[in-house]
Structure formats: C-alpha cells, structure tokens
C-alpha cells in the first residue's frame, strides 16, 4: 500500500470546532486548549476567526487568543479572515497564517458568506496578494466539495475551478471540505483526481466530517492517493449551523490512531492529545466524539 511517510495534521478544533458551541468558552480556555495542542505536537492550529462577534460570538476575542498563545515553538496559528476588515485585524494581531474560504456550490456560498463564489474570490484576491508580500501563509478552504445541502451533488470540476483560482492567488494549501460528510472513497478519488490536475497533490488538504461514519475510510483513500495534509478536530468538536445534520469534524484522536497504525509520522503525541481532549470535553460538558479517545481515556480512569 503506497502511503506518504509524513502527514501534517491541521488541528481545527479551537476555531471550526468551537465556533458553534452553545455555551461561551473564555479566551483563557481557548488559549489553554491551543497550548495543550501545541504541547501535543501540532504545527498548525486554527486559533480563531477575525469576523464580527455579531455573526460568530464564540470567536470574539480572537486577537486576545492570538496574543496569549505560546509563540516560542514556531507553530502556525491560522485565523479565518472573511474580508478586508478581518484581514487587517489579523495583520494587526500579527497572525502568521490566515485562511480564506469559499464553497464549490453557489447556494452554499450565498447562504454561508452572503456572496457568490466569484464575488468571494474577488474579495480574497487582494487579501492573498497582500499576505504574500508580508510572508503570511495562506490556507484556502472550499466547502461542499462532495455534496451541497441545498444543491445536492457537486461535480469535481466545480471544485477544481475554485481550487485553481485559490492556488493562483498564492494559497499555500487548499483544504477540501466535505461539509455534510456524505463522501465515500470512490467519490473522494474522483475529486482528488480532478482537482489534482490543477493543484499539486502536496498542496491539497482533506477536511472530512464523520456524519455518516465515513471519515476514516475517506482519509485512508486520500492518503493512498498521496494527500499528506489532513484537517481534524480534537474530541471531534464542531459542526456546521448551515448544514442540517452535519455533525462534527473527524476527531484528531481517531486520525492519529490511524496514522500511528499505518506507521506514518505526524509528530503528535497521543497521550498529550488525550490530555487536550479530556480538558476540552470537560469544558464543553460532554464526552469526546471520538471512539479512540473514549476507548483510550477509559483505560486511564
């Protein structure tokens, strides 16, 4: 079985995971979680979002989060920048990595970002250009790369068009999001084959939700096809308020269990990841949405 020797896990729990939590999480708790994830070995952690607190109250204080996390280890703390204003705030907060985002489906783009795909891309082009001059890394997110909750099936060629635009803007990596979790390995293969004709495979990240229990299978297939960047969230945090039935991101613990079992280096310590999982599960008041975490933590107690 052909597999990458190393994989970068991008931890999205502190942003994508927590943004829809029903109860407030303090800046201190978010900082603590991020630092525990840094201790575990993640080199890229999504730390916040420079979006109006009116729209995403849980991400208020992202500048404070960014100021207080541990900067001694060279970790990339990625922050979402939905527009020019957010981008300027991120620059002012000394962000070293930003994320721009759009969708492969027009309806989802309009519902999620209140603009068409083309308008979103036009908004991000100058942001990316400026970020490049400042040496700020850029992630490009594309939602609904398999299916859209409003439009149904999304063709790989639709994703490819958006991915090529983001790549041309200078995105350092492009994360393909199966927002509603309906993907299965065959469709993931069709997607990666198509997008891979416009963007080098080493620039592609995969971002799966475990809504239908398929995330680990889809990640395995992605690894077999050469993908070496995988998004995941500690304790399986997350969900999407705009997509009915969309449960959380695939759990970092389940993905790490897979990678460890495959002998793929990630630099992440399972024990320290479990510490973070246990911590944030206590904060949000529920068990980790991760089979591996529940099984491994049950042995601790």
């Amino acid at each position: 079985m052909s597999l990458p020797r190393k994989v970068k896990l991008v931890e999205v729990g502190p942003r994508d995971g927590l943004q829809n939590e029903p109860n407030a999480i303090t800046v201190e708790q978010r900082v603590k979680l991020i630092n525990m994830l840094g201790d575990a070995g993640f080199t890229t952690i999504e730390a916040g979002s420079f979006v109006s607190p009116k729209w995403v109250p849980r991400m208020a204080g992202s500048d404070e989060v960014l100021k207080n996390v541990d900067h001694s280890r060279g970790i990339s703390y990625c922050v979402l920048t939905p527009n020019q204003r957010g981008y300027e705030d991120a620059v002012a907060a000394s962000a070293n990595e930003i994320a721009v985002f759009t969708a492969a489906s027009e309806t989802f783009s309009k519902k999620n970002t209140n603009c068409s795909i083309a308008e979103g891309l036009a908004r991000f082009e100058p942001i990316c250009a400026d970020a490049k001059t400042r040496g700020i890394r850029i992630r490009g997110y594309i939602s609904c790369v398999i299916d859209c909750p409003y439009e149904g099936e999304v063709l790989p060629s639709q994703v490819e068009n958006v991915a090529r635009a983001l790549f041309d803007f200078g995105c350092d990596e492009i994360s393909l999001g199966d927002t509603i979790g309906t993907g299965t390995p065959q469709r993931v293969e069709a997607l990666l084959s198509c997008v891979g004709t416009s963007v080098p495979i080493e620039k592609l990240a995969v971002h799966f939700h475990d809504t239908y229990g398929q995330a680990v299978g889809n990640i395995l297939r992605s690894l077999q096809l050469g993908v070496s960047i995988v998004d995941s969230a500690v304790a399986g945090l997350g969900g999407c308020p705009y997509a009915k039935g969309a449960t959380g991101n695939v759990a970092s613990e389940d993905v790490l269990y897979l990678l460890d079992g495959l002998g793929i280096a990630s630099g992440i310590s399972m024990e320290k990841l479990l510490d973070a999982s246990e911590y944030i599960s206590g904060v949000v008041g529920r068990e980790p949405a991760s089979n591996a975490a529940r099984a491994l933590l049950s042995k601790r107690h």
Copy 2:
C-alpha cells in the same frame, strides 16, 4: 481502485449484538428484528446461540427464535454451536447454518471458551464433519486476529494456523474477528496476505469492532484486497464482556453507506435497514451506535 462488485453482509446483531444486553429481549422481539433484517435483504443473519442459558441468558430460546423466523426466503440463519450438545440441539432445531468459534490467542481461548485452541479445534472437527454430511453450512469464527486483550499482539501466522485448520474441517467461510478493535489498515493487510496463503480470499470474512474508530477504514482496505464478506451489526449492537473497552460491532448502516457509495452491490435496502435499526434501538433504549443511522434517521423525524 480495485474492489469486489458484490459483497455479502453478514448481519450479526441478533446474536453477537444482543448477547450481552443488560436487559432481557424477548423471543418475539428477536424474531421481529430478524424478520425486519430479512426484509432489508440480508441473506445471512446470525439468529442465536445453542449455548447453556446459564452462560448466555440472552440467547435462551434460540430454538424458538429459529422456529419462528420467516423461512420462506432462503435466508441462512446462522447459530453458534459451542460444543456437541449445542450442535445436536441446533440440528434438532433444523438450523441451516452453524458457527464454530475459537481464537488466535491461547489466553483468550481459555478465558472465552475454557479450553486451549487445540482442544477447541478438536471439539469442532467432528461437528464440522457431521454438518458437512447434512448439508449444513459452517462459519468458522476466529477471535483476536489482531491483538489479544491479555497477550497483546497476535501474529498473522497464528491466525493462519487456526484458519487453515478450520478450512480443512470444511468451513464454508472463516470470519476474522478484530475483537478489541485495535486493527488499522496496514495490519489488516498483513493479516489478509498471510491468511490468504492458506485460505482462498473469497472464503474469508472480516469482522471489525469500531472501538477506536477504525472499522470503516479497515473494511475499505479489506475490500481493496479482495474480501467480499463483511460482518456487521444493525445499530452497532454488541460488545465483548471478556475484553475491556471493547465497544460494539461496526454498524451495518455505516458499512452499507460505504458499499452503496462505492457502487458495490449488497442487495440491502438502507431504508429497511433503518427501520430495523430504529426498532431495535427502541427495544434496547438507546440511540443507534451508528453515525449513518443517526444522520439518516434525523431526516425522517
């Protein structure tokens, strides 16, 4: 991606799934579940166990179950026969498929069946010989094909030795059970490569538990390697009382979602499987341990 065109799903929920339920399930409820699974299209359903009710009280009345399920559709109702006495009872109850079982680990064999692997095999040899003369199908189960909760790592060659013996006894298929769910795709590949040298791949079934969230990935890898028989349990029922932290079988709904997505024919109707899942979840009083079932059922209500 090379995949089988057809897969036989073996539904183990009514036996492997229900045998450890804390509360009693009536014969009527078991019959109803089995018939709903037959309606969904399963051609092999584990229906009971001819073991002393002293040891497995939940399987009491398996003869009544077998008598009352729908026999008009040619479904194989597999029943566990742990010894000569159980086998004779199964024959008296007109069972058309039996299952014999041992482990690839000596300690697990002793704890689970109170005899060594060799003693267990010696017990099953005449049973298999007699079953062959009567035209009764035989499944051979091997537990702990990846790791043992007592001994740790189990070598593929240990599994191969046991599988070869069962195959030589005339077992029609041999189910490889990752009892504690620690397998990952690379080890599954090593296992199948090794066992496949002694038993034809089309005679091998895989039986995964989702304890660490790896079951769907392991099934995908097994399919890629030519396996075409997969064990699963509706609503992810089950667990093993002898293996700490062993959660249920992989859910039939998650596996069917995978197969449907891969375009692999199974003959199973997801809608009717969901009916069975909803029914038995009501009986046992908890949500299905299946992401696919929860997501799909949430759209029904």
